[in-house]
């Protein structure tokens, strides 16, 4: 089955099919960003992460964000996959791939897309702390680090 450009699923993420999706003979740049499960949040030790999503809406939000990115930057193609369920430290939670004729637009669009995902995509992260407690995180994009 062909890889969709936008997806939310519990499957482990692989950047290769996303890179292939956004490649084009007219593109001189492909930026692939991976967001990875980190072992701490603001210095507090994390054992593992769990992501929950309103998956059917999140896919639609990704599609809208790709339209936004193409309006703002000279990019040709965008692909976004986000994972749900339990992620161990070091596993990939999100991959953004952007293809563009030139690299400044590709870098800028990837950064923009990640910021917007954190603002509006209906996806939630639960920090399972090393001390055995757990906490749903909200408004991470507005918190100091």
């Amino acid at each position: 089955m062909a890889t969709p450009a936008f997806a939310v699923s519990p499957q482990p993420l692989d950047p290769a099919p996303l890179t292939a999706l956004v490649s084009d003979p007219g593109h001189g740049a492909i930026v692939t960003f991976a967001g990875v499960a980190r072992n701490n949040f603001a210095g507090r030790a994390t054992a593992y992460l769990e992501y929950e999503a309103y998956a059917e809406m999140a896919v639609g939000v990704f599609e809208q964000l790709a339209v936004e990115a193409k309006e703002r930057f000279a990019v040709g193609a965008v692909a976004i996959h986000h994972r749900t369920g339990v992620l161990q430290i070091g596993e990939t939670a999100v991959i953004i791939a952007v293809g563009a004729p030139h690299r400044p637009a590709a870098f800028a669009a990837a950064a923009y897309l990640m910021d917007r995902i954190k603002e509006v995509a209906p996806i939630w992260k639960c920090e399972h702390w090393a001390d055995g407690t757990a906490e749903w995180i909200g408004n991470e994009h507005t918190r100091p680090h």
Binding site: Y54, H82, K118, I123, W124, K125, E140
Partner: protein, 80 residues
């Protein structure tokens, strides 16, 4: 009318279910649904930081609901 309420993260855990079927009067809005939810499930602790989506699109609290709509309560998000 019947509206399907979708709950996620801490809101889902507070109710112990990912969705609720809510009966609402005709001409109900998102705000009406929130008042009904707050009365029946005070443990949701609904607050101003929660956003709303009807049929998978973000909307304002004044938005009218229709029979069969899906209303999702979106607590502050933390994807990525």
């Amino acid at each position: 009318m019947q509206v399907n309420i979708r709950l996620f993260a801490a809101l889902r855990e507070a109710v112990g279910a990912p969705s609720i079927q809510l009966s609402l009067p005709a001409a109900a809005t998102v705000e009406t649904a929130l008042q009904t939810l707050d009365a029946q499930w005070p443990q949701l602790e609904l607050h101003s930081g929660i956003a709303y989506a009807v049929n998978q699109s973000y909307v304002a609290a004044t938005t009218a609901l229709h029979d069969g709509d899906e209303l999702a309560l979106i607590p502050p998000v933390s994807g990525g």
